[in-house]
């Protein structure tokens, strides 16, 4: 029962991303060619909604579902990891048109060749774990 709420949130996420076509290779291509406002509208509205909600949470010091104060951790400071990691991620994103969420959503929807992308992504995560200490962060 405790986990059911996560299943429902995930379900909503999967339907929304599919029906707004953010899981579509075409939409990512279009976004990087500035040929439609669609993806920018989605990301912008999501950030605006989040910004508004987080401000309310912080100002009213809201509690979470278990009655604990909500703490939103800051990201670690750094440069190389964000720039280099970000650029590598962007290259992959525009090549196969999906980021980690959509990889799973598309597999669930029955696009089985996306399994190759998932295999690659797991291997990429493994490589990061292997070389983490040798990389600039």
């Amino acid at each position: 029962m405790n986990l059911l709420k996560y299943l429902l949130v995930g379900f909503l996420f999967g339907i929304v991303l599919t029906k707004t076509e953010a899981v579509s290779w075409y939409r990512i291509y279009e976004m990087f060619h500035f040929q439609s406002f669609h993806m920018y509208g989605i990301i912008g509205t999501a950030i605006a909604t989040g910004l508004f909600g987080i401000q309310i949470i912080k100002r009213k010091k809201l509690k979470d579902i278990d009655g604990m104060p909500i703490e939103i951790l800051d990201k670690e400071k750094g440069n190389a990891r964000y720039w280099i990691g970000g650029i590598l991620f962007g290259l992959g994103w525009a090549l196969v048109g999906s980021c980690p969420g959509p990889i799973f959503i598309l597999l669930g929807a029955g696009f089985y060749n996306v399994a190759f992308v998932l295999l690659g992504a797991l291997f990429g995560t493994f490589l990061y774990g292997l070389f983490k200490d040798k990389l600039p962060h």
């Binding site: 339907i15 991303l17 909600g53 987080i54 650029i87 980690p100 959503i105 929807a109 690659g120």
Partner: protein, 182 residues
């Protein structure tokens, strides 16, 4: 029903994605999809050899449940809420794609030339794309959900750097490398 099967407007879906993030915060968690890749690696027990994977993935089970829900959502959306009008692109985009030999959508989410194609070249492209996504998101500490949505809406400068990086990489790929590959 027809309203649901059309392409959802960006303002509605953007709002709902923001809501998903806020709900996870309310549940005492954080919105981030790429951490699941680390959990899946850690599950194999590889943490005994590589310290990065020696973490308590069981505490991340909730996120795997989000993934299962998202997969079900994708299944329902594609099988029960599909419409031929989906993925309508600008004629210029379609023309540009056809020059690279990539088929137009006609309601499909993914081009057949990339995802219904079992040529070794295409499989290698999908695997390399995946490696870049997996390595890049872990190195940067997050992906579109963790940095672009969660990070930027919490005004995090590191997330802004990562998102600018996503766009630099994406623009290089879309404008210079894709035309060489196709």
């Amino acid at each position: 029903m027809e309203l649901l099967s059309q392409t959802w407007h960006w303002s509605i879906s953007g709002f709902l994605i923001g809501l998903v993030m806020l709900l996870l915060i309310y549940f005492g968690k954080t919105f981030g999809m790429s951490s699941n890749l680390r959990s899946l690696c850690a599950m194999t027990g590889i943490g005994k050899k590589i310290p990065f994977f020696d973490w308590d993935w069981k505490s991340q089970r909730w996120n795997m449940v989000v993934v299962v829900g998202a997969m079900l959502g994708g299944f329902v959306a594609v099988h029960f809420l599909h419409d031929i009008s989906n993925v309508s692109l600008h004629p210029k985009t379609i023309e540009q794609l056809s020059l690279m030999g990539i088929d137009e959508p006609n309601g499909k989410l993914l081009p057949n030339s990339l995802f219904e194609n079992s040529s070794p070249k295409m499989i290698i492209i999908l695997i390399i794309g995946g490696i870049l996504i997996g390595f890049g998101s872990r190195y940067a500490g997050g992906c579109t959900s963790g940095h672009a949505i969660s990070g930027l809406s919490n005004l995090q400068i590191p997330s802004l750097k990562a998102v600018i990086g996503f766009f630099i990489g994406g623009l290089i790929m879309a404008h210079f490398l894709l035309p060489l590959l196709f």
